[in-house]
């Protein structure tokens, strides 16, 4: 194209390019606005999106919180007194920035007190940044006089976190989890629905089979030009499924492991099909020792055999200071012939 011609075309084309540029900018901006609106709509439809659970107020330390109130818990943030925090707990004993929290997938809610603040998780106290804690579904958090309980949403359940003493490594306790998590109510409901569907399908298949057999019989009789024999009146109707299926809700039911390589014990009798997956009976809880007095000569045998500290019962078995004092007195009397001095 000659230069003069090109200049004319290029001069005219600049309006075309400007038009296209305006179009591009307007469309981009419109798209941006549309997406923002769509996001707002999504948030309205799913108000829990972005939250992993909520803290339920069990015991309130102020008038601004009532027992039963819920505070949504985001993935990460700060718990504190003021509204600027992600988790605002306006109660006595709560600092402006009390502790940081962070959700760690498949582990739990990680808590780290700010500065020298202290928190109590399931009765265990954690003070300062060095002592970090993990919360799982159902864990209790006590700050000041306020007691909160964590309720995790579906899809964010975590394995139960063992609440042992705080560890020096900042809470690396991931290796100690139970081999299987207890099924959540949602999982149980899901399995219940699955079982119902399977039973309904079996019932439908049975009905179809019966209907087909009946039709074939009818056709066979029709071919022979003979009347169809009437079914016996006393024939029992098909068993109706009432939609009810009983599950063991007391955590004894255990889900089948979704592992193809695992051999499913087919040879078990039908009633024991879940026996292999049932959680073993928990060890018996340690029963408190009978509250006997030293007058009953409860420690006589121990004292006669061994007087070292190892032979003594743990201090947790004592009740109060008086009894330990009495025991010392008894040791004094027996071994050293103190005679009550």
């Amino acid at each position: 194209m000659p230069r003069e011609m090109y200049e004319i075309v290029a001069s005219a084309a600049r309006y075309w390019f400007l038009f296209l540029m305006v179009l591009i900018v307007l469309r981009s901006f419109r798209w941006y606005r549309k997406d923002q609106k769509q996001h707002k709509k999504q948030r309205k439809l799913m108000p829990d999106a972005g939250y992993i659970g909520e803290m339920v107020v069990i015991q309130s330390g102020s008038d601004q919180l009532a027992p039963g109130d819920t505070l949504p818990v985001s993935w990460e943030g700060i718990l504190g007194f003021t509204r600027i925090n992600d988790l605002c707990v306006p109660a006595e004993g709560v600092a402006n920035k009390h502790c940081r929290f962070r959700f760690e997938e498949k582990v739990g809610l990680f808590l780290e007190p700010c500065g020298r603040q202290s928190i109590q998780v399931d009765g265990q106290e954690y003070v300062g940044r060095k002592e970090t804690a993990y919360m799982s579904h159902g864990s209790f958090l006590k700050i000041g006089d306020t007691v909160l309980r964590l309720r995790m949403f579906s899809g964010y359940e975590t394995r139960p976190v063992p609440q042992s003493a705080p560890m020096a490594d900042g809470g690396q306790r991931n290796a100690q989890y139970a081999p299987y998590p207890a099924p959540t109510p949602e999982q149980l409901a899901c399995w219940q629905q699955m079982m119902q569907q399977q039973m309904a399908q079996q019932q439908m298949a049975q009905r179809q089979m019966a209907y087909q057999q009946q039709m074939m019989q009818q056709m066979a009789w029709a071919r022979q030009n003979q009347p169809m024999p009437q079914p016996p009146a006393e024939e029992a109707p098909l068993e109706e499924y009432d939609g009810q299926l009983e599950f063991d809700h007391q955590q004894t039911f255990y889900p089948p492991v979704m592992d193809d390589e695992e051999d499913f014990p087919d040879d078990l009798p039908e009633e024991d099909i879940y026996a292999a997956y049932r959680r073993p009976a928990p060890p018996p809880k340690p029963q408190p020792r009978p509250q006997t007095r030293y007058d009953d000569h409860y420690y006589d045998e121990l004292l006669d055999e061994d007087m070292t500290d190892a032979a003594l019962p743990p201090r947790s078995d004592y009740v109060g200071e008086d009894e330990s004092r009495l025991m010392k007195k008894e040791v004094w009397d027996r071994m050293l012939g103190g005679d009550g001095r």
Partner: protein, 440 residues
């Protein structure tokens, strides 16, 4: 829904219509420029390749992972605009910066994909971040040992005949390092890295990059901690350093003097800014036309002053619209950062956005004589492979965060839908809603 209405709806989809407008723009622009005086087959080829590349990068890539198409389309538009401007200005000069830039654009898309996969699939950064940190520190110091000086700054190295600017690549590492250590509340590592970076950049006399690093770090610090006092101290420190630099160094004084009155130095040190301003003015509102004007009069027109070339050829209105595109990109990046679930991801998105925003402001403000001109590139548009890969890498970081957030949103949606189906069961009352009726 009938087929006709489905087609109408498809046509009205914002991504489709926007990409079509962009493709039409670049097809007609490259076709026009290829017909200048004689038929340039390279231009004809680019008129097909660039729109196809835009279509593939914007419409096909998101099929493999949930990406933000608007962000992709804006970045692709700006990259293609750079290719167009460089091709149109260098066609007569016999250089091949346009073709090279098109190649860098392809490499940039690859770099963007790498960053997306890095953010999407790397879950444990505990050790990786230290490796990234040490590599970045080594890379940043490399020009001091084997670097060459270019425009007063020793920030280039030659590797196998190719010039690289390590400080551009370290931008990505800086964002990752700051985001990781800030979100983990480990002050010392990020502070050490920040101080080290500033010291090395000062030794290299790379003031523009130092500015970008400093303000990005300060912004991230404020965004995470909300500590107004320390942020104020940082700002005061920057102001103090500027004053000290002005008093101590002669070249800083000269640069400020040129900024205040470039016409006094129009034949010497103010020649570049004067020519840029003249080019913008000569373009007027609608420009002189694509491929016309005299952009090559401006020194370093292909990197620092490319905005002046855009204004000269397409006009000031077009230049303002390009700025609006940057603003939309920054708004989009900010919304991605706000939607991120974890602090680490939020800081990455915010850091990438802020870095792009600051870089754009520094170069366009410099060209428009709003602030003293410093030698940084205009993101996506300026000539340069390292700059292109770095900017596309920043977009990749943003895309990675956006896709992770989108995955989490979809997970939430699936859970809510499953729960709503369970709620419809007659037995569901015993189990409660999504919030779980009973504690275990």
């Amino acid at each position: 829904m009938s087929k006709a209405s489905q087609k109408r709806k498809l046509r009205r989809r914002p991504d489709r219509s926007l990409v079509m407008a962009m493709m039409l723009f670049f097809f007609s622009a490259f076709l026009l420029i290829s017909l200048k005086e004689e038929i340039h087959w390279q231009g004809v080829m680019l008129s097909v390749i660039v729109p196809v590349l835009i279509y593939v990068a914007t419409m096909w890539l998101p099929r493999f992972f949930p990406a933000d198409k608007l962000l992709l389309s804006i970045a692709n538009f700006l990259c293609a605009l750079g290719v167009l401007i460089l091709y149109s200005t260098d066609m007569d000069a016999g250089t091949s910066r346009g073709m090279q830039q098109a190649m860098y654009y392809g490499i940039g898309i690859f770099g963007m994909l790498m960053c997306i996969f890095l953010i999407r699939y790397v879950k444990k950064w505990d050790y990786l971040i230290w490796i990234v940190g040490f590599l970045a520190a080594g890379l940043l110091a490399l020009p001091l040992a084997i670097g060459s000086e270019y425009n007063g700054a020793t920030n280039w190295i030659n590797v196998g005949g190719t010039s690289l600017q390590p400080s551009e690549m370290v931008k990505l590492a800086l964002i990752l390092i700051f985001s990781y250590f800030l979100s983990r509340r480990q002050t010392i590592p990020w502070l050490l890295f920040g101080v080290y970076s500033m010291a090395v950049l000062m030794l290299q006399k790379d003031l523009g990059t130092a500015l970008i690093y400093y303000f990005t770090a300060l912004f991230l610090y404020y965004a995470w901690t909300g500590n107004l006092l320390m942020t104020g101290v940082g700002l005061v420190g920057a102001a103090g350093a500027s004053v000290a630099g002005y008093v101590m160094f002669a070249h800083v004084k000269k640069r400020v003097a040129v900024w205040r009155n470039p016409w006094m130095y129009s034949e010497t040190s103010g020649y570049q800014i004067v020519q840029a301003l003249v080019a913008i003015a000569s373009g007027g509102l609608f420009g002189v036309g694509l491929g016309l004007g005299s952009p090559r009069v401006i020194p370093v027109y292909f990197t620092d002053c490319i905005f002046a070339v855009i204004c000269e050829q397409f006009g000031v209105i077009f230049g303002v619209l390009v700025l609006v595109m940057y603003v939309i990109l920054i708004l989009r990046g900010t919304s991605i950062a706000l939607r991120a679930r974890s602090g680490f991801h939020g800081l990455i998105a915010l850091g990438a956005t802020v870095m792009l925003g600051i870089q754009t402001f520094i170069i366009i403000g410099g060209v428009l004589k709003l602030i003293p001109l410093t030698g940084v590139t205009m993101p996506f548009v300026s000539y340069g492979g390292t700059s292109m890969v770095s900017c596309m890498g920043l977009i990749g970081l943003l895309q990675g965060v956006a896709s992770v957030t989108q995955d989490q949103m979809e997970y939430d949606y699936d859970i809510s839908r499953m729960q709503s189906e369970l709620d419809a069961l007659p037995e569901a009352d015993d189990w409660g809603g999504r919030k779980g009726g009973a504690f275990r």
